[in-house]
């Protein structure tokens, strides 16, 4: 649909032994614990895990918005040193700039890089790609949640990214819009060939979209298991294979919530910290 077609295919991702921590309320808060994940060129990877387990932190590292304490992040063979338009991040909130129309929001990237004039065609093409041509001159405040998220997608795609980072982009949408956008996301990915990393809480969504689902432990996050999704596309949620995988992932997640299979040291640390807090306050 884009006039000049996908110019750059996806870039491979290598996350090597990344540990990340923050200081919060005077306490050190480990978020990622020696996490290593790789993604092939053009692969669709879903990251799933309990909330607050550091999945979004990982995306911020990939986007170059934060730097890891330890470990290395490579995209396309080069270390990530800062944000780059080839690695845009789509948030759960569309975070459109409210004083810019939809078209002007999609134009943020080209304008920031000083290539606005040459990019007119690409901007129109990106708007068409997500079906917002008619609403190009609307203000973000006028859009529905689904339309706003489409605009955010167009804004990320206009720079023809090699890696698209998706931080629960469909998390706040209603079930119907979500289904529609899952389909659109998939066809965009297939058309443009970028590598996609999707953070989600929704196991079915992960299995519907991803080539591989990486399951995280509770914070500090470790990779519990990376599951190859060997299902044909388009995927059917009602098949036995789909449900078997779904049950398997849910079992891992459930075990972490309550079961005996949890990471005892991490959990013990966590509980110790909570106890400290209670004693102090």
């Amino acid at each position: 649909m884009v006039a000049d077609g996908p110019t750059s295919a996806g870039a491979p991702i290598d996350i090597l032994g990344v540990t990340q921590a923050f200081r919060s309320g005077g306490k050190d808060l480990p978020v990622l614990d020696d996490v290593s994940i790789s993604a092939r060129q053009g692969e669709f990877v879903a990251l799933i895990g309990p909330s607050g387990s550091g999945k979004s932190t990982l995306l911020r590292l990939l986007a170059g918005l934060d730097k890891p304490l330890f470990g290395e992040v490579y995209v396309g063979g080069a270390p990530v040193t800062g944000p780059d338009p080839s690695r845009p991040l789509v948030f759960q909130d569309p975070t459109l700039l409210p004083w810019r129309t939809v078209r002007q929001n999609v134009a943020v990237g080209p304008q920031a890089r000083g290539i606005l004039k040459q990019s007119r065609g690409r901007i129109d093409a990106a708007l068409e790609l997500v079906g917002l041509t008619e609403f190009a001159d609307a203000w973000p405040a006028q859009l529905s949640g689904g339309m706003a998220q489409r605009a955010a997608l167009a804004r990320a795609l206009v720079g023809d990214p090699s890696v698209l980072l998706l931080d629960e982009p469909l998390g706040k949408l209603d079930a119907l819009t979500r289904r529609v956008l899952q389909g659109e996301l998939l066809s965009l990915w297939r058309e443009r060939g970028f590598t996609a990393v999707l953070v989600t809480h929704d196991v079915s969504e992960a299995l519907l979209l991803a080539d591989r689902v990486v399951v995280f432990s509770p914070r500090p996050a470790r990779v519990r298991e990376a599951i190859d999704v060997d299902l044909g596309r388009p995927r059917d949620q009602s098949t036995r294979e789909f449900n078997a995988l779904r049950r398997h992932i849910l079992e891992i997640l459930d075990a972490d919530q309550t079961g005996p299979d949890r990471d005892r040291t991490a959990r013990a640390d966590h509980i110790a910290r909570l106890d400290d807090k209670e004693v102090l306050t």
Binding site: R87, F91, P98, V108, G109, A112, G131, A138, W139, Q142
Partner: protein
Amino acid sequence: MTSTLPPIAASTDTGASSTSASARIHEALERIAHPATISAPVITAGILSWIAFALATGFVPNSTDLPLRDAQSVESTTTFTVVVGFAVAAAWALIWALSSVSGRLGAWATRRSANGAAWLLGAGLWALFWEFSTAKADLLEPPYFVAPQEILDRLWASRGVLTDSLANSLLLLAVGFAVGLVAGLITGVTIGWSKRANYWVHPILIFIGPVPALAWVPIAFVLFPTAYTGAVFMIALTVWFPITILTRAGILSVPRSYFDVAQTLGARSWFLVLRVSLPAALPSIFTGAFMALGSSFVSLTIAENFGVNAGLGWYINWKKGWGDFPGVYAGIVVLVVVCGVLLTVLFRVRNYVLRWEKELTRW
């Protein structure tokens, strides 16, 4: 993918029935958008009150107790005042008549008539009371209370000086406001953006900013080479302070996610400052501009009286020196109109610039 678009474009005309349906919908929406209902009794009473004012001014004899100077002034302007009264009545009668016309003119006239009727009546009654209490019955003592005729008389008689004063005031205000605005934006953005700049500038801002303009008078007119630059400094300072405070506050409250998004799309510092921070802070900056405009009028009149010796503020005090209260009121009338017009202009600018905030039609 087009099938997933909301069906807003699906309402294409398919026949006569749907056309009439959409016309009905259009009318209903129009009624909701402009819920103007003209109250015939109120607007009639309003027009009559102004006719009464004109007739009373022209035909009720003036009080014989008026001092000679006031009596002459009232006498000389009576015809003109009568004309003004009839003109107001005629203008509103015309607007009311136009409200039955279709199209944009009719819609405008309807809104005006519906909105203005009560004020028309209120102002007409006030004018009647004013006329009677001063020129006709002399209930309120001259020279402090003056008849409407006298103010009109002075406005006309002093039109040359008043025009000059108006021009001087507007120029001084424009220069001072512009300097203060630019300085305030630069300071606000700088300290909102840089922690080090904030460390040094914020305490100065907190202590220097609130000092009232009057307190600067002895220093401003000594430190600056000319009285005019001193006056510009005083006005600029009172504009600088609220603009800086609210620009800084606006920039500090910009959501971090805006910067994250812009950065991942390739934005560098200058883009983040000028294209993300500043527009995001605009609602707050406009609040500062309203405060600044209000306080700039204060500094303007102070500066005009303490060194510049020109402008409306100076004119009012000069007239007071002569004990010419009609002249004082004439100056105040011009000043009131100027302040009102400038504030309205600022409102219009704000509503246009921040139209993305107000636009509420959702799809």
